[in-house]
């Protein structure tokens, strides 16, 4: 019985761990993930940094060429509407596929 309880507890712990890692991208406040088409070149993707860094709402931007995604970290209390994000990505030379907004805590 003790073994069963330990096994169940281990499974529950493992599942909660997987659950957390699945939601890792949204574990931070003020983070927006954007799926982008056309982002294949590091040199050209520098435009994203340049364009987004001009916005005072944006703290940092992470570019993930492998997965065609950008993560925008906003300053506390700041935000940009989807339409503005879309425009900034387009101005950088790319097309927005999807904007994933995280729950604000």
């Amino acid at each position: 019985m003790r073994r069963i309880c330990l096994t169940l507890a281990f499974c529950a712990f493992s599942m909660s761990g997987f659950s957390d890692s699945g939601n890792l991208e949204c574990s931070k406040k003020n983070l927006v993930n954007v799926e982008v088409n056309g982002m294949v070149c590091d040199f050209c993707a520098r435009a994203l940094e340049k364009v987004f860094s001009k916005k005072q709402e944006v703290a940092t931007i992470d570019v993930d060429l492998d997965n065609g995604k950008i993560s925008i970290n906003f300053n506390d209390g700041a935000n940009l509407e989807d339409s503005i994000i879309q425009k900034l990505v387009t101005n950088s030379g790319y097309d927005v596929v999807k904007i994933n907004r995280c729950e604000r805590g």
């Binding site: 088409n37 056309g38 340049k50």
Partner: protein
């Protein structure tokens, strides 16, 4: 006349780095091969065009062109794993000859052309052409094609390396109509550097910095 416009539209020059940047972006391109040294500094007010200074020096025929260059992004195709671009380029200015009997002879000059590229993270290909005209100082047509392969796939911020082959076609050069140059391209952050030596021993050295 129809053929004239066809040539105008489909002749150009591409530096193998984007001639149009992001709105507010400034790019410096400095390129050198056996015949030419080029400097192009451009500013992009919008995503679909750039305007800038162009200086082109031909060391063999001893002339220098200086003018204003306008680059237009005709079409960009963004796919999940690739991107393609089509550009129209043009410049207007003056050419100054240092070659006898035209020493210090200055005439209006300009060029126009077309460029296209396609790349994913492993492969790269581009085509460019350029038709230059300056009455009695210089006239030439040139086209280039490039194929590239990345030996490894780097992520954002890594040093990126490309093995490339450039085939240059100069119809007016009797002994060097075709020039094949294997070259290496590196880029990291906002700096791009590429260099190679052609089968004829001619050196290419290009630097691009995006501000």
């Amino acid at each position: 006349m129809k053929y004239f416009f066809f040539i105008l539209i489909f002749s150009s020059f591409q530096t193998h780095a984007r001639p149009v940047s992001y709105p507010g972006g400034v790019t410096l391109m400095q390129m050198n091969d056996n015949d030419f040294s080029n400097l192009h500094l451009h500013y992009s007010p919008k995503i679909n065009y750039s305007i800038g200074l162009k200086i082109e020096n031909n060391r063999i025929d001893k002339w220098t062109f200086a003018g204003i260059q306008y680059n237009n992004l005709l079409k960009r195709i963004n796919k999940k794993k690739s991107q393609a671009n089509f550009y129209l380029k043009s410049a207007i200015g003056s050419a100054l000859s240092d070659e006898h009997p035209f020493s210090s002879h200055q005439v209006p000059a300009g060029f126009i052309g077309f460029a296209a590229d396609w790349e994913d993270r492993r492969f790269f290909t581009s085509y460019e052409n350029k038709s230059f005209y300056s009455s009695d100082v210089a006239k030439y047509f040139q086209q280039k094609v490039r194929f590239g392969i990345a030996p490894y796939i780097g992520n954002y911020g890594d040093l990126h390396t490309w093995f490339m082959v450039q085939i240059e076609h100069n119809p007016k050069k009797q002994n060097e109509e075709l020039n094949v140059t294997p070259l290496l391209r590196f880029f990291k952050d906002v700096y791009l550097l590429e260099s190679g030596v052609s089968f004829d021993g001619e050196i290419i050295f290009n630097v691009v910095v995006r501000f």
